[in-house]
């Protein structure tokens, strides 16, 4: 280990490892600090990603792909099932291996990694972040860095310590429960989504196949729902009703910040990325790819700031992110707010009208059009997504 680093990344999830890789690639010194013993474990994730999203950064490898997806099945509250076939595929990852792979890629570019290192505070001088305080094997330590990248996940506290407003409105936090279960007899190439107030109010339930009759089955509900009934209670009811004989391999809790990105994701000496910056797609709740994109931008800009010796160059990160995805997420968020208010009857009537569309014309686009007929006010927001 060095006495100080150009860039310190906190958190070894997808966003942190990508930030470290993109910074290290440019030749600056990088250290990742991760509080857990193992990179990639525990897995708090449904593990679904798009193929195109992955391919932007690495070549798909069977060792971290549990299954390939080419169909979506959407199930409305009355049980009507709409199946959509894709030409583009997606994957269900084995994130335990995938996260490891991303960290190894960062390491092979020169980044160092220290696990079991809990970051407990920031060093600041004259309003600028100049390093981190951390606990490692019972000892309190400090390390200085030119740039700190906070990739510390949904539970992020680093941004607040730097004076940014980072907490998520409890209504926008999808609180999630998920099991990985076996003996789940579903199509191995289809992702299933269930909607409705009995299943997952203001959210959805997913069944993502992982091969060998196992699947990730989970759901998210907003904090507003959580006031009355918890995520795990909804999940238990669903499992009892639909998969009563499915042994549980793992069971996890988790939170997904389904909101727009934070107003500020950089401040002097510090940048935020991934869940910590609330860079999740607020409509789908997917944060792997968007976190990797955010991390790659943050890492690149951090390295450029160090190399050019212009510390304030890191503040260009906010705009770079907003241009790439941030503004899209604002629109997705408005669509989410529209859809989450749909009643069960509306979901049913969308499914019924969609089932009248001939099979070969059932695409996500035509589903969207059907949904829009039911909620014309969403049209404007959707138009904005497509017009950029």
């Amino acid at each position: 280990m060095k006495a100080e680093y150009d860039v310190i990344v906190v958190g070894a999830g997808p966003a942190g490892s990508m930030a470290a890789r993109f910074a290290a690639e440019k030749g600056v010194s990088v250290l990742i600090l991760e509080k857990d013993r193992d990179v990639g474990y525990p897995v708090r994730c449904g593990e679904a990603v798009s193929k195109a999203g992955i391919e932007e950064f690495l070549r798909p490898d069977p060792k971290w792909i549990a299954s390939s997806i080419d169909k979506f099945s959407l199930i409305s509250p009355d049980g009507s099932e709409v199946i959509i076939q894709f030409s583009e595929t997606g994957y269900i990852l084995e994130r335990r291996v995938f996260d490891y792979e991303l960290a190894k890629m960062a390491a092979s570019c020169g980044a160092e990694i220290l696990t079991r290192a809990y970051v407990s505070g920031l060093i600041t001088e004259g309003g600028r972040v100049t390093g981190v305080k951390y606990q490692f094997r019972g000892e309190e330590k400090q390390l200085r860095a030119k740039v700190v990248i906070a990739a510390d996940g949904v539970e992020s506290r680093l941004g607040r310590w730097a004076g940014l407003k980072t907490y998520v409105d409890f209504r926008d936090m999808e609180s999630c429960a998920q099991v990985t279960a076996s003996n789940i007899k579903v199509d191995p190439n289809t992702c299933y989504f269930y909607f409705g107030k009995d299943v997952a109010p203001e959210g959805y339930l997913w069944v993502f196949p992982k091969g060998n009759c196992s699947a990730n089955i989970g759901l998210g509900v907003s904090g507003l729902t959580g006031k009355k009934r918890s995520a795990v209670s909804y999940l238990n009811s669903f499992m009892e009703k639909n998969f009563p004989d499915a042994p549980t391999l793992t069971s996890i809790a988790g939170g997904v910040p389904c909101s727009v990105t934070l107003e500020r994701i950089s401040a002097p000496g510090i940048m935020l990325t991934g869940d910590a910056a609330r860079q999740v797609n607020p409509l789908s709740g997917g944060g792997i790819i968007s976190g990797m994109i955010g991390g790659s931008i943050a890492g690149r800009i951090a390295a450029e700031a160090v190399i050019s010796n212009k510390p304030d160059y890191i503040m260009t990160y906010d705009k770079a992110w907003n241009d790439r995805l941030g503004r899209r997420h604002e629109i997705f968020n408005r669509i989410k707010n529209g859809i989450y208010n749909f009643s069960d009857e509306k979901f049913d009537s969308i499914a019924h009208s969609f089932l009248k569309v001939s099979k070969d014309k059932r695409t996500l686009g035509s589903l969207f059009r059907t949904a829009l007929f039911n909620q014309p006010s969403l049209l404007l927001d959707v138009a904005k997504v497509f017009l950029g």
Partner: protein, 69 residues
């Protein structure tokens, strides 16, 4: 006066509660969670957001502030 209780054995250390706490009053480590009494305002947002029913609001003061697995 802290009125939020951490029920033993239920926490999954997922961080959902930390993400919604407006006061930065929750400290979460690998398998350790603690509510920082001086910062907590008993607003209950963490209770509503916990997927696993780990947190509980009590009308009187709680004594159990931390839990380690």
């Amino acid at each position: 006066m802290l009125m939020i209780e951490i029920l033993p054995g239920k926490c999954d250390f997922c961080g959902c509660c930390v993400g919604v706490c407006p006061e930065d009053a929750i400290e979460l480590k690998e398998a350790e969670i603690r509510i920082i009494e001086e910062l907590c305002t008993n607003c209950c947002k963490c209770v509503w957001s916990c997927p696993f029913e780990t947190l509980k609001f009590n009308k009187k003061e709680t004594t159990r502030l931390e839990f380690e697995s």
